[in-house]
Amino acid sequence: MSSLQQTPTSLHPTTEDQARRRNVLFAAPRPSRRFIPVWRRNYLVWRKYLFERVLSNIIEPLITLVAFGYGLGSLLPDVGGASYLQFLASGSICMSVMYSAKFESLWGAYSRMETQKTWAGIMNTPSSIDDIVLGEVAWAGTKALVTGIAMLLVIWGLNVARSPLTLLALPVVFLSSLTFSAMALIVNSLARGYDTLSNYFVVVVTPMVFLSGVFFPVEQLPGWLRAIAQWLPLAAMVDVVRPLILGHLPGHLLRDLALLVGYGAACYYVALILTRKRLLK
C-alpha cells in the first residue's frame, strides 16, 4: 500500500477531492469487449418476444402507409417529383427508426437502471458503466436497425420503392439510431422518474418529427423554423434516407453524416459523464 494520509477528513470537499472526482467523471470513454454481454442480455430478452416485436414492426408502418399514404395521398399532389405515398414512406422509415431507438434508451434503459437495478448488478462484475452505456447504445442501434429493415420490406412489398439504392439507407439507419440512443441516454441519466421521459418525448421528440420533413417538406415551414430544422439530427437523417429510398443520391451527404456523427459522439460522451455521475455516488 502507498503512503498514508493522516490529515483529518474535511467535511467539505477540498479542491483536490473535487479534481479527483472530475477526473473520474470526465475520463475519456473506455470502450472494451465487455459491452458485448450487456448487448447480449438485451438481445436475449428481445428474442423472447420475437414474434410480437416483428409483427408490430411490420403492422405499424403498414397501417401508416395504407391510411395516410393511399387515403390522404390520393387527395394530394406530388411532392418534389414523388407521390405523397413515396414521400411519406421515406420519411416515416426515419421516424419509426428514431422512435425505436429512443424508446429502448428511455423506457428500456430507465427500467434496467432504476426499476430492475440490472445495471447495479452488472456493476458488481468486472463490467463497468462504460461497458453498460456502450452496450445500451449498440443494442438500441441494433433494435432500430431491425425496425428499419422491417419498414424497408413493407416499402418493397407495397411496391412504393424498389431501387437497389434503398439498401444504402440501412447503414444510415444504424448510424442515426446510435445518435438517437446517445441523446436519449442523456435524458435517462437525468430522469427523476418515468414522467421525465414522457416530458422529453412531448417537448423534444414529437416537435422534431414535425420540423424534420417527415410528413411535409421542410420548405413549407416559416423561415425561422427552417433555420432550426436544418440543425436537427432527424432532419439530417431524412435528408439522406429520402433520396436513397426514392432512387437517387443524396445532395448533402457529407454535411448530414458529419452532423449525425458529431451529435452522436458528443451526446455519447455527455451521457457517459452524466451516467457515471448518477451511479458512482
Binding site: L4, R21, R34, Q116, K117, N124, L280
Partner: protein, 321 residues
C-alpha cells in the same frame, strides 16, 4: 462434492493471505462523515462481519471496497489490487450478494445465472457446466426454468447467492443477506454460508442480526458513525464488555421496580421502553428478589452480541438515511 464450487490448488495459491486491506477509509457525503477513518483486514478463509445500526456506513464501506464509490481518503487493497484504480480486475474474483435482490425479471432461474456469468467474460460452455451444481447448492434444481416472479423471497435470496458464485469467487461480499427472510429461509442461508466457509471461501458480511453475526463470523467489527468502535472474536468481545448474566424484567410495574431496586446487586441497569435490563456477574440476588414479585415477568439469559451492540451504539433509534 460440488465441483464447480470447490477451490482448486491453483486458486488457493493465487489468493493472497490478506484478502482485503482497508486503511483509514474516509468518505464524506453532503457535509456528513459517513466513513470516518475505518481500518480492517480480512484473512483468507475467514468470515468477517460489519455490525452497525442503520446509517453507520456499512454499505458505503462495501461500495468503496468494490470500487463503486470514490473514497475521500485512505487505502484499499482488494485481492492484491489497489482500489479504485484496479477494482475492475479485482472484481473478476469477487462475488456480491446485494442488500436488495436485483435478479433479472425477464429471465428464468437458469438464464439469470447464464447471463450474469457472461458479465465476467466466462464462456457459455463454462457457465452451463456450472449451473447444475449452483442450482443444487441453492436448492433450486427443481426451479431451473421458473420465472423470477414465481419465486418466494427465500428462493430469490438463494438464487442471488448462487449467482454471486457463478465466477467461483475467492471473496464474497454479503450486504445483509437474510434481511426480510423468515426463520426457515434464514437458517438455510446460514447453513449454505457455512458450507462456503468450509470450502475455503472468504466472506465479508454486513448485518444487524446479532445471532447471524454470532453464528457465522470468525471476527467482527462494530461500527458507528463511520468508525470502528470494537473489533474481535464475538465471544471475546462479549466477555470483555458485558457482564456474564442478563435478566430482562418486564410486565406491570417493571419500570417502577427498576427505580426502587437496590443497585448494588447489579453492575448495570438499563430501562428501555417497558423493559429493565439488569447486567450482573452474579444474578442470584436479582432472581431472589423477582421470585417475590409475581406481577413481574423476567427472562434470565447469558449475555449476547446484542447486549454488546446496544452498549456500544446506544438504544436510541437511528434514521434510515
Amino acid at each position: 462434492m460440488i465441483t464447480a464450487l470447490a477451490p482448486t490448488n491453483l486458486e488457493s495459491q493465487r489468493t493472497p493471505e490478506v484478502v482485503l486491506r482497508v486503511h483509514d477509509l474516509r468518505k464524506v457525503y453532503g457535509g456528513a462523515r459517513v466513513v470516518d477513518g475505518f481500518s480492517f483486514n480480512i484473512q483468507r478463509g475467514e468470515c468477517y462481519a460489519l455490525l452497525g445500526p442503520n446509517g453507520a456506513g456499512k454499505t458505503t464501506t462495501l461500495r468503496c471496497c468494490l470500487g463503486l464509490t470514490e473514497p475521500d481518503g485512505g487505502q484499499i487493497e482488494l485481492l492484491g489490487e489497489p482500489v479504485p484504480e484496479r477494482a475492475r480486475h479485482a472484481r473478476v474474483r469477487v462475488g456480491v450478494v446485494p442488500q436488495l435482490d436485483n435478479l433479472d425479471p425477464d429471465f428464468s432461474v437458469a438464464e439469470n445465472l447464464l447471463v450474469y456469468g457472461r458479465y465476467f467474460g466466462l464462456p457459455d460452455a463454462t457457465i452451463r457446466a456450472r449451473i447444475p451444481s449452483l442450482l443444487e447448492f441453492a436448492s433450486l434444481a427443481h426451479k431451473k426454468n421458473a420465472w423470477i416472479g414465481e419465486l418466494s423471497g427465500g428462493m430469490k435470496r438463494r438464487l442471488t447467492l448462487a449467482r454471486s458464485l457463478v465466477n467461483d469467487p475467492d471473496l464474497i461480499f454479503m450486504d445483509e443477506p437474510t434481511t426480510g427472510l423468515d426463520p426457515q429461509a434464514r437458517h438455510l442461508i446460514w447453513e449454505r454460508l457455512k458450507q462456503l466457509l468450509a470450502r475455503g471461501k472468504t466472506i465479508l458480511l454486513t448485518t444487524h442480526f446479532m445471532d447471524e453475526a454470532e453464528r457465522l463470523a470468525h471476527r467482527l467489527a462494530v461500527i458507528d458513525h463511520g468508525a470502528k468502535i470494537a473489533e474481535g472474536i464475538p465471544r471475546d468481545l462479549i466477555r470483555s464488555h458485558i457482564e456474564a448474566h442478563v435478566v430482562e424484567v418486564y410486565g406491570d410495574g417493571a419500570t417502577e421496580w427498576a427505580q426502587g431496586f437496590d443497585r448494588s446487586d447489579v453492575s448495570r441497569l438499563e430501562v428501555s421502553g417497558e423493559t429493565a435490563f439488569c447486567y450482573a456477574a452474579d444474578p442470584a440476588p436479582i432472581l431472589r428478589d423477582l421470585e417475590t414479585r409475581p406481577q413481574l415477568r423476567y427472562l434470565h439469559r447469558p449475555a449476547n452480541l446484542e447486549d454488546l451492540f446496544l452498549k456500544l451504539t446506544g438504544r436510541e433509534m437511528r434514521d434510515e438515511s
